[in-house]
């Protein structure tokens, strides 16, 4: 019974992998990039879901001597200055980073997309005011604004998420608004109006479905950016407070010991930040190439 089940899993996996390679025929190299990005993200998701099982120790407990080298028996990534297991901290750190990045991006999408829809569709004074606000937010360098917001709101997962979300609202707003402006002139929107459709119907059934495809791209790219911003905030001490495991925080704590040669305190969290950000960027860029093939020429 068990054998049969595992056999079935193997065969579905096989056909799935075949499909992945087939996709390349249609979309070319971008397909591999997208698949690789998706693979990285999936691996991180698996790590997050099975964090309790994968991590050998409690990330908060002092389980060994301080500064044990990576590869020491029982400590694959070594231990930090307090004797905590670096591997366990890296594994549990992914949870916090991803929670914040995804919450923040969702939040900015949930605020930015409807505002963009309304602003683009109705136009007029409301559009001017909203555009002005969004453009002024957009003109700030992202991290600077996030620092200001984080300093105002204080630490905590929710507050950091909001601080990061604010930076990305204009990205959604501007993109959705631009799309709405072009879609609302389409003949099928006029056709809907001659049918007697209300503004809500036109927005939800005719404009939104034609705008949302490109949001997926921005969404993925924004998560990558949000991960970096979160790490930056924590590094600066404005994000997660110790002793919670967090990659940015561990980077900033570990950097003090770097001159003494204890490189593994910063290398592993830093590597994880790069890998996850890379995964989402590849996925986003790949999706962009696949969904909007016209952009290739430019």
């Amino acid at each position: 019974m068990n054998q049969l089940f595992s056999h079935r899993i193997a065969s579905t996996l096989k056909s799935f992998i075949k499909k992945i390679f087939k996709g390349a025929k249609w979309y070319g190299v971008e397909w591999y990039l997208t698949a690789f990005g998706a693979f990285l993200i999936l691996s991180v998701l698996v790590i997050i879901i099975f964090a309790n099982k994968l991590a050998p120790y409690d990330p908060l407990e002092f389980v060994g001597k301080p500064f044990l080298r990576p590869g020491t028996k029982g400590f694959l990534f070594g231990t930090d200055n307090l004797g905590r297991d670096v591997l366990s901290r890296v594994i549990f750190g992914s949870k916090i980073v991803m929670t914040i990045a995804i919450t923040a991006t969702l939040f900015s999408a949930v605020v930015g997309i409807p505002l963009g829809l309304i602003s683009g569709y109705f136009g007029g004074k409301l559009d001017r005011v909203l555009s002005l606000i969004m453009d002024s937010v957009y003109s700030f360098p992202g991290l600077v604004l996030a620092i200001a917001m984080a300093a105002m709101l204080g630490p905590g997962i929710l507050n950091i998420s909001i601080a990061i979300a604010v930076i990305y609202i204009p990205t959604y707003f501007r993109m959705v608004r631009g799309h709405v402006l072009s879609v609302k002139g389409e003949l099928y929107v006029e056709a809907a109006r001659t049918l007697g459709a209300s503004d809500v119907t036109i927005l939800s059934k005719y404009i939104f479905p034609n705008v949302i495809a490109s949001v997926a791209v921005i969404f993925s790219l924004n998560i990558a950016d949000a991960i970096l911003t979160e790490a930056g905030l924590s590094f600066l001490g404005l994000g997660i407070s110790p002793p919670t495991p967090d990659w940015g925080l561990d980077l900033s704590k570990g950097k003090v010991f770097l001159p003494r040669g204890y490189w593994w305190l910063v290398t592993y969290p830093g590597m994880m930040i790069s890998i996850v950000a890379l995964g989402f960027t590849l996925l986003g860029e790949g999706l962009n190439e696949i969904l909007n093939p016209r952009l290739k020429e430019s």
Partner: protein
């Protein structure tokens, strides 16, 4: 609301639509006068219940704008539009929605007039949902029956397709079905066959005429092609630069064209005979800029019969015969 139905389903009086010309900041500072494109400039006509009224003109003559004004997608600058005796320009949104059910549109471009992310079935059901007609089951039934009726078989399969999976001719049939599902009284057909393959055109026209009888429709048929108009219309109005230059019964206008412009258009219909010689030259040059239309009669720069008065005075629409009018100084 229960007043007896008016014989003239659409009556347009002195309809005008001016579009303001966008100016850049320097133009705004240097002159205060706003400039307008007079897309429709004082058009009056009426459409009787059950007839096919053709509105013919070159591109830029304002025929499409007139159509859009009648279905109240854009608001007129001036003038009155009566639909079944109700003035559309004064209606509230809710009242207009009730009227929308009775007037529908078949658009020119079947590639652009269907939502690319909505399945055919959903697109057909949408009007019924908007006007809250029937239960979901009944709606699907109606849509399937209508699909079959317009010649899209098998309807169950077409129902689940996306627009990009259909051909141009099939899409136009879907657009026709969507226009008819609410059982309207009046249908605006804005160049309905212009985008179709030549081989499809006659079929589509025949379908439209068949449906007209079955659904008791009145068509306002907008076209640039007199040959098409000849095939379907009862009444015909020729537009030039936002004005009607000649209006009358189709056979009167074709047998006895009065306005030089109409004559020129008629002579431009290709006749499949190599021996045939054209009698009248096609008007020279292009249609003038509607921002700055010619003084007097708007056709005078291109008219072979130009007189002195044509540059100065605008000719009014003059009744020549019963239901046959022309705006030209030749008939003063």
């Amino acid at each position: 609301m229960t007043a007896k139905k008016v014989d003239e389903i659409v009556k347009v009086t002195n309809l005008k639509k001016y579009f303001e010309v966008e100016r850049d900041i320097i133009q705004k500072l240097s002159s205060k006068t706003k400039r307008y494109v007079k897309a429709v400039d004082g058009v009056s006509f009426s459409i009787k219940r059950g007839e096919v009224f053709g509105l013919v003109g070159e591109s830029g003559s304002g025929k499409t704008t007139t159509g859009r004004l009648i279905i109240n997608i854009i608001q007129p600058t001036e003038g009155e539009i009566l639909f079944d005796g109700i003035d559309l320009t004064t209606l509230s949104k809710g009242e207009m929605k009730k009227i929308r059910k009775r007037m529908q549109v078949i658009f020119q471009d079947p590639y652009a007039s269907l939502n690319p992310r909505m399945k055919i079935g959903k697109a057909l059901i949408q009007p019924l949902e908007i006007h809250r007609i029937g239960t979901p089951g009944e709606r699907k039934d109606m849509a399937l029956r209508l699909l079959e009726h317009v010649g899209l078989t098998p309807p169950e399969i077409i129902y689940t397709k996306y627009p990009h999976q259909l051909s141009g001719g099939q899409r136009q049939r879907v657009v026709i079905a969507r226009a008819l599902i609410l059982h309207p009284e009046f249908v605006l057909a804005d160049e309905p066959i212009a985008m179709a393959d030549v081989s499809m055109r006659v079929l589509l026209l025949e379908l439209m005429m068949k449906l007209k009888e079955e659904f008791n429709l009145t068509y306002l048929f907008i076209t640039h092609d007199l040959a098409t108009a000849k095939y379907v219309c009862d009444m015909i109005a020729i537009m030039y630069l936002g004005k009607i230059v000649e209006i009358g019964k189709l056979k009167d206008v074709f047998k006895n064209p009065l306005h030089p412009y109409t004559k020129a258009l008629l002579s431009a219909i290709p006749i499949p005979d190599p021996e045939h010689k054209r009698k009248i030259e096609i008007p020279k040059g292009e249609i003038p800029n509607p921002i700055n239309p010619p003084s007097g009669c708007r056709f005078h720069p291109r008219c072979p019969y130009k007189m002195d008065i044509c540059e100065k005075e605008e000719p009014p629409l003059k009744i020549i015969d019963e239901e046959h009018s022309v705006a030209c100084h030749l008939f003063d």
